[in-house]
Amino acid sequence: MIKLNVTSVMVLDQDEALDFYVNKLGLEKAQDIHQGPFRWLTVRVPGNPEIEIFLQEPGPPVQDEATAAQLRELIAKGAMGGLVFQTDDARGLYETLKARGVTDFTQEPVAHAYGTDMGIRDPFGNAIRILQPAKFAQAATA
């Protein structure tokens, strides 16, 4: 048996990332362990404890300063991948995010055959997609 336990997203500032992913997106803090300059900081979806997201800030001791500088530039130009979440109410979440001050929408909610999706960026440039699968819409109207 194998299952996904921790994935990571590269961020430019762990405190700012924690604020965004918890207070804006609605995740919760999971682990926050300081070890010298290293900080193991993870968040997770409430009620979904199996998978944590490591908010990783490039730099020593994991990366040397030059490598970290390259990573930071790549994060800021949106070249470092991202995360995909599911919701049972994309439009409701869109309104909630706007009310919480999120402005960086790459796509407002759009309905497709497979569901309603939208896109935002975290404060650093990472892409986040949020999908409300069509089955939730059907269940809601059934």
Partner: protein
């Protein structure tokens, strides 16, 4: 120094996102540059350095990608699709499409059907690189059917 580059990159990304959102509208390069808080000339120059192509070319490839999507997914006429994605003349659209994709819009429609993949996947995966800069492998292929999302072809994507 690096923090300045990060800040500039983030602002350029925000401007690029603005072009992606409003691809069907006429390109107002000054307004897009304003999203990045820089002058028009500086925007065009630095965008090219950071993303490897001019803002104009980036937008053209987004428009062509959206036109490929509409050719695959709808029965709308080539002229309607040309206008839908932000071109204002069929001649410019056809020339740009052929230059980037390597075939005419009508040929693309004949050879491709709907793709069973989420829209964001299609927007990322099928945005064409410019045909002249890569071998025209597609020309040699027999009438290819579009891949279904989740099958082998799609699974090979990152």
């Amino acid at each position: 120094m690096s923090r300045e580059v990060e800040d500039l990159n983030r602002r350029l990304l925000r401007a690029r996102d603005a072009m992606d959102r409003a691809y069907a509208e006429p390109l107002d390069i000054r307004a897009v540059a304003a999203v990045a808080y820089i002058s028009e000339a500086h925007f065009i120059r630095t965008f090219r350095v950071v993303f490897g192509e001019t803002p104009h070319r980036y937008l053209q490839r987004r428009r062509v990608e959206r036109s490929m999507f509409l050719l695959r997914e709808t029965d709308r006429s080539v002229t309607d699709i040309c206008l839908d994605v932000g071109f204002n003349s069929l001649g410019t659209f056809s020339r740009t499409f052929r230059e980037i994709v390597g075939e005419a819009p009508s040929e693309h429609r004949l050879r491709n059907g709907p793709m069973l993949a989420p829209n964001c996947y299609q927007m990322a995966a099928t945005r064409p690189s410019v045909a002249a800069t890569r071998p025209l492998v597609a020309e040699a292929a027999p009438a290819t059917k579009s891949s279904s999302f989740g099958e082998a072809t799609a699974a090979a994507a990152p």
